[in-house]
């Protein structure tokens, strides 16, 4: 540890170096790094499962893995990636680090709850490791009943407990953010001066708080049913399997907005900085974030179009699904138009951000296609849906996460990374991603269902293309480990504001001192006060940067 920080000035990193000072820290910045370690580990566990899946699917007869093992792999991939990587990724690493800094506070409202949430997260992770090593779960991440309650022979209850406990961590995080943003903004930081990243975290937290408890109750009931043999969702005992689906999706649809909203916040920060121009339509962007959060609660039925819901409810859910796409479209247009008359540079974070806009657009329009009920009858439960949500969650969220990681890396670590390697990784991500998932749209319309370990030989070409793309994507995701890790030891020292950005987080040293600011900032300027005409910019506390 000493080599990493030997030549850095006093900061939150150098303050104390004992293990206890890290494991018992209440500093939001250190907690962010603790989370970073945990979720990176889970990213590789989920990625390992994905690797096995793609390797297996190269062969139509599906001989690499036994059927049960394959089923466990995609279940593990889903559970780990959704709850242990995507949902906490941006909020718990970038959010934890940046929220107090961006609003000019010394820490979050409840630092000890923040630390506790990390321990709760890891406790949930222990249950994940437990069921993984004991033999896995094979119900899919969606736990549909009565398969999960009465027919599956894996560790369903352990998996349900893992997700249940993880939910507590989510709720604690969301609670912290909401209260902090409401009550701990620096003087002058009024709502309509908040960076869009903060608005995004706020919207995400609201969704986390309201949706997660319903999942908790649903999984609890599944656990009770499986353990006690009672019939809450089992038709043989009077229960309704569709009720499970309604309750599960009531959470799980807003969950996808938990995954995308923070990414949208990151993208706004990046595009403004690297186009050196205020985000077009700031107010509209904040309304769009809140609209997505709210409307997102009313579309869950679109996961059940073929499940047996009534025609009327299907039509209503379809309409709401189209409506929720409107604010997303507005955001896409606003980001794109921000580039107009900007002063654009193509640093790695910007490449990730622009990649996000492109991939999110593709994912978004295919979302419209599956929202069209008539088409969803054919497309539901096929690879078309798989491709759609991977475009959004991986093409979207993971790109934004990597973009944000690169952008704030100098602030977090005080080091600069290799720009050339980073740009290469960003481009490789974009190419690898498209090669992996675009063929899956074709497979879907052809009629390849999800969760199949074998398929007819005439579809092999698409799977081979997809797996080839996956290998490229794997390189693109692993590469940053190397050059970012390298930068910790040999990277050039970063100044306070290497990007000449306007956020309050850039007005303190890199890395920041333990209490963030030497003096509490006073906010006088709107966010993104970049002037593309001459390239100048004013930070939110009024200083020229």
């Amino acid at each position: 540890m000493t080599t990493l920080t030997a030549d850095l000035p006093a900061s939150y990193l150098t303050k104390e170096q004992t293990i206890a000072s890290w494991l018992l820290t209440t500093d939001h910045k250190r907690i962010a790094l603790l989370y970073f370690a945990s979720i990176t580990a889970f990213f590789f566990i989920g990625g390992f499962a994905a690797t096995l899946i793609r390797l297996h699917l190269v062969n139509p007869a599906g001989t690499l893995l036994q059927p049960d093992m394959y089923n466990r792999m995609f279940t593990m991939h889903g559970i780990v990636m959704v709850w242990f990587f995507l949902i906490p990724s941006i909020p718990n690493t970038l959010g934890n680090f940046l929220v107090p800094l961006m609003i000019g506070a010394k820490d979050l409202a409840f630092p000890r709850i923040n630390l506790a949430s990390w321990y709760v997260f890891n406790l949930a992770g222990l249950f994940v490791l437990y069921f993984l090593f004991m033999g896995g779960v094979d119900t899919g991440w969606t736990f549909y009943t009565p398969l999960s309650t009465h027919y599956a022979n894996g560790y369903v209850v352990a998996a349900a407990v893992a997700v249940f406990i993880n939910g507590f961590s989510s709720i604690m995080t969301g609670l912290n953010f909401v209260v902090t943003i409401h009550r701990m903004r620096a003087p002058g930081m009024v709502w309509m001066r908040l960076p869009l990243f903060i608005w995004a975290i706020y919207a995400t937290s609201a969704v986390m708080l309201l949706a997660t408890p319903v999942l908790a109750m649903t999984l609890f009931l599944v656990g009770v049913e499986r353990t006690a043999g009672v019939g809450i969702f089992d038709p043989a005992l009077g229960g309704d399997p569709l009720l499970f689906q309604h309750m599960f999706w009531f959470y799980s649809h807003p969950a996808v907005y938990i995954m995308i909203l923070p990414a949208m916040g990151v993208v706004s920060e990046l595009i403004a900085c690297f186009a050196r121009k205020p985000i077009f339509g700031y107010a509209g962007m904040t309304y769009a974030l809140m609209a997505i959060a709210v409307i997102g609660f009313f579309v869950w039925g679109h996961h059940m179009f073929t499940a047996g819901i009534s025609i009327y409810s299907a039509v209503v859910f379809s309409l709401m699904s189209f409506v929720v796409a409107v604010p997303s479209a507005i955001k896409t247009f606003n980001w794109t138009v921000t580039l107009h008359k900007g002063r654009i540079t193509f640093d790695a974070p910007m490449l990730y951000a622009l990649g996000f806009v492109g991939l999110f657009t593709i994912g978004g329009v295919t979302g419209l296609i599956v929202a069209t009920v008539a088409l969803d009858i054919h497309l539901q439960d096929t690879y078309f849906v798989v491709a759609h949500f991977h475009y959004i969650m991986v093409g979207g969220t993971v790109s934004a996460y990597f973009g944000g990681l690169h952008y704030w890396w100098p602030k977090i670590t005080g080091r600069l990374y290799s720009e050339m390697l980073a740009r290469f990784a960003a481009l490789l991500t974009f190419l690898g991603f498209n090669l992996t998932f675009f063929p899956q749209f074709i497979l879907g319309y052809l009629g390849m269902p999800r969760r199949y370990y074998a398929y007819p030989p005439e579809w092999q070409v698409w799977h081979v293309l997809s797996s080839a793309g996956a290998s490229i994507l794997a390189v693109a995701y692993v590469l940053p480990l190397f050059y970012l890790g390298w930068s910790l030891f040999r990277g050039e020292r970063a100044g306070a504001n290497p990007w000449r950005a306007t956020g309050l987080e850039w007005r303190t040293s890199s890395p920041p001192p333990a209490h963030n600011f030497a003096r509490a900032p006073l906010v006088t300027s709107a966010p993104y006060a970049y002037n593309p005409e001459d390239g100048s910019a004013i930070a939110q506390d009024g200083a020229h940067v």
Partner: protein
């Protein structure tokens, strides 16, 4: 926690901010709990609508008297909790301890009555998966009523137990003179939680005990 001049925590400018933040945090937490119990109550009402007759017959075996006594106990305990908060605002230190102790006692009394009720339910053979016996007139879904009954009252009891723990912790702080008219936000926050647990019972009681008795 030092006995000398208390200060707000590092990240707060003053006690007022700390207090407001604590209360907002508790309200937000309660909102999540509303959705947690709400999910359960919603599911219960779906099945109650679907199986009205069976639930009504099964519901008649719920111990109305014990449920009603418990409702009265909890309502009273909310009152004692509020009185403890008032005492803190008026700087009557011994009164704080007295009212908190009474709240704890009433909480334990609730749990005692609930425990007794569970014993009688066991004797009546209405515990699903343990010793449930189908009675004459009970349809198949009757067991479902009892599943919800035990889940709902069980989770409520767990929340109440956590509440009792919190009030006991408050008593410990009160004994050390931590609550002054300047800052007694933890009491208010625990009070909010306690009232919430009380409110949940006010929803569960009619749902589970007043079924089919009109």
């Amino acid at each position: 926690m030092s006995e000398s001049a208390p200060r707000p925590a590092e990240q707060f400018a003053d006690f007022a901010q700390q207090g407001e933040v604590a209360q907002l945090g508790m309200f937000v937490f309660i909102a999540t709990e509303v959705l947690f119990f709400g999910g359960l109550v919603f599911t219960y009402y779906i099945y109650r609508h679907l199986y009205g007759a069976e639930f009504a017959i099964a519901g008649r075996d719920a111990k109305l008297m014990l449920g009603a006594i418990n409702a009265a106990i909890l309502l009273t305990s909310s009152l004692t909790m509020v009185l403890a908060i008032e005492a803190a605002a008026a700087d009557r230190q011994r009164a704080i301890l007295r009212w908190l102790a009474l709240t704890v006692a009433l909480g334990f009394l609730f749990l005692g009555v609930k425990g007794w009720e569970y014993v009688t339910d066991y004797r009546d053979h209405v515990v699903p998966a343990v010793n449930f016996l189908m009675k004459p007139g009970y349809g198949g879904p009757a067991e479902l009523f009892w599943v919800f009954y035990f889940i709902a009252t069980g989770i409520h009891a767990i929340h109440l137990t956590i509440g009792i723990g919190a009030v006991l912790a408050m008593m410990r702080f009160a004994r050390r003179g931590r609550f002054t008219p300047v800052y007694y936000a933890p009491l208010e926050v625990v009070g909010l939680y306690w009232s919430f647990v009380d409110c949940v019972w006010l929803f569960l009681f009619p749902a589970l005990y007043l079924l089919g008795r009109s």
